[in-house]
């Protein structure tokens, strides 16, 4: 089993959700996070005073998936989240040892 984590632009969340839904992904976790990559934030100006916002608002999407489907999930997220502009985000994959469905106690693939 794999955990696919994607940090994306907030406004791409709906597109990513739709793409994963179309793949048949049953569930995902979304959280609001802040951070920066190569673009190093942005500058705002209030009454002529510059304010550098280093940490930009991003959305972190986490999907637990079967190893066989992991590439499809990653490709779907990347395709849906891409705007082509700087700050589109990152997607990474980590291995998962076990998963338990809290309601039933099922483990492993059955719990996905």
């Amino acid at each position: 089993m794999k955990l696919v984590t994607a940090v994306i632009k907030p406004y791409q969340l709906d597109a990513v959700k739709e793409a994963l839904h179309a793949l048949g992904v049953a569930g995902l976790t979304v959280s609001e996070v802040q951070g920066y990559g190569r673009q190093k934030g942005h500058t705002e100006v209030y009454r002529g005073a510059e304010y550098t916002v280093e940490f930009l608002p991003k959305i972190r999407v986490e999907v637990l998936t079967d190893e066989l489907d992991v590439n499809k999930v990653v490709d779907a997220i990347v395709a849906a989240a891409r705007t082509g502009k700087i700050g589109d985000g990152k997607v990474w994959v980590t291995g998962i040892e076990d998963v338990v469905r809290v309601r039933t106690g099922e483990r492993g693939l059955d719990a996905l």
Binding site: E44, V45, Y46, R47, G48, A49
Partner: protein, 478 residues
């Protein structure tokens, strides 16, 4: 024998409406300042305006109106006993001059001016002034500065009656006056922690625009109401208020576009205020085209002036000096440049550009300098005394953690579900505090569980509202 004056219902109705919308300016100002401030001090910022409404209204009734508009005593102050708040004015002849407006209506109209002038100052000292220090300052400054200065300018005192300075609705008495006091307070209180290394950005720009909109709306009462009657001059003041403000929005945005690359909503809102401030003294003394010019200049100059604090190193948090002091001065001097008797019989010396030379310009400058000096010195001394006695600045810890919690025990926003429901606020309100002393803060949820709250009790347990298990005071007996 002249006829006794009678009530003019049209004038009275207009001035009552004006009074009400001028009052609305102060909550508008509170939103404007509140939005410009950081989130952790938004309530304190708003509280400073609301407390000014509370305190100054009462002072005005009891002796402020007498001091400002009572019979002149040597050009300095009004007869303090003339309209004392313990007297009642319900006779048919208790009218204000020739306006046909009941004394109470004129008193109420001027009351709103006193309130907002004091509230204006608060924008300079956000996030760091003790609330008790602010209240003391309000009483002192209103009594020692605003009431006498209003008398000097409008009430028959030496600036208006003897010097001949013109100030239709408050460029000198309100904006220069408040701006000078704001600068004095800033110098006594010092900078906010972290300023100017951290630029303290506005936390709610839509709120800034809402506040500016309410101010703009109320300002028609402020300026056009200052005619006290409904006549030709009222119409001129109304139109000038609109076109000068509109031009100032454009002036500020042009500076932003040229300097920063993009026009901003904070800039448009600030430009509106700068225009309103600047047209205030001049609105009945200049033609509409001169008002447009005034607005453009005020918008552009104030946009540049708000940057002065970074160069000179004083932390005027929300730019009271850059907008009100500078804008007030521009309007004050504009009368000496563009004032014309063709629109107002009150203009006895034509402005410089109408061939009147520099006479009126000089008079205007002297009036501005007198008010600047007096307000600055008295505000400085008052603030210094408060600082040395009860203290005027909150502790460093309170400032870092946020003045709202430290001074008022409440916070503006509670957006996180994790932080929202754990406070047990409803229980505290009902007196069901599980024996905790009132006023104790923190996260009582855990303590309540430890003290034996039944599961589900926080969500309407049958006996949680004072039935079995509750004593007469509503406190649980565990």
């Amino acid at each position: 024998m002249p006829e006794a004056p009678t009530i003019d219902t049209g004038n009275t109705a207009w001035l009552l409406v004006s009074s009400a919308i001028v009052l609305l300016m102060t909550p508008g100002l509170a939103l404007f300042y509140g939005g410009l401030n950081r989130a952790k001090g938004v309530l304190n910022m708003i509280m400073m305006s609301f407390s000014a409404i509370g305190l100054v209204s009462i002072l005005w009734l009891f002796y402020g109106f007498s001091a400002a508009f009572g019979e002149d005593q040597g050009g300095v102050i009004g007869d303090l006993g003339q309209y004392l708040g313990t007297k009642t004015f319900m006779a048919e002849t208790d009218l204000w001059g020739e306006t046909g407006v009941p004394l109470y209506v004129f008193m109420a109209f001027q009351m709103m001016f006193a309130v907002i002038t004091v509230a204006l100052i608060s924008g300079a000292i956000s996030d760091r002034a003790k609330f008790s220090g602010w209240l003391l300052f309000v009483v002192g400054w209103a009594s020692l500065v605003y009431f006498p200065v209003a008398h000097w300018v409008w009430g028959g005192g030496f600036i208006g009656a003897n010097l001949g300075a013109l100030d239709f609705a408050g460029g000198t008495a309100v904006h220069i006056n408040a701006g000078a006091a704001a600068l004095a307070l800033v110098l006594v209180l010092g900078r906010r922690l972290g300023w100017p290394r951290e630029t303290m950005k506005p936390h709610n720009v839509p709120m800034v625009a809402l506040g500016a909109g309410l101010l703009w709306f109320g300002w028609f009462g402020f300026n056009a109401g200052s005619e006290l009657t409904a006549d030709l001059t009222t119409g001129l003041a109304f139109v000038n208020t609109q076109v000068a403000t509109a031009a100032a929005v454009l002036g500020w945005l042009l500076v932003e576009k040229a300097r920063d690359g993009r026009p901003t909503l904070v800039g448009a809102s600030s430009g509106a205020i700068a225009g309103l401030v600047a047209i205030t003294p001049a609105c009945a003394f200049v033609t509409p085209w001169a008002a447009v010019l005034l607005g453009l200049v005020a918008g552009a100059v104030c946009a540049l002036a708000v940057g002065l604090k970074y160069r000179l190193g004083y932390d005027d948090s929300l730019d009271v000096v850059g907008v009100h002091f500078v804008g007030g001065w521009i309007g004050c001097l504009w009368i000496g440049l563009f004032g014309t008797s063709s629109v107002s019989s009150l203009v006895s010396n034509e402005g410089l550009f109408y061939g009147g030379g520099v006479t009126q310009l000089g008079v205007q400058a002297v009036s501005g300098l007198i008010v600047t000096g007096y307000s600055f010195v008295v505000a400085f001394v008052l603030a210094f005394v408060i600082q040395k006695t009860i203290g005027f600045r909150v502790s460093e810890q309170a400032e870092v953690e946020g003045i709202d919690i430290a001074e008022h025990a409440e916070s503006g926003y509670d957006l996180s579900p994790a932080a929202g429901s754990a406070g047990g606020g409803a229980f505290a309100a009902a007196g069901l505090t599980g024996g905790r002393p009132a006023g104790q803060t923190g996260a009582p949820g855990a303590e309540q569980v430890a003290a034996g709250w039944p599961a589900g009790g926080r969500h309407g347990h049958p006996d949680s509202a004072g039935g079995e298990g509750a004593d007469a005071t509503g406190q649980r007996r565990w």
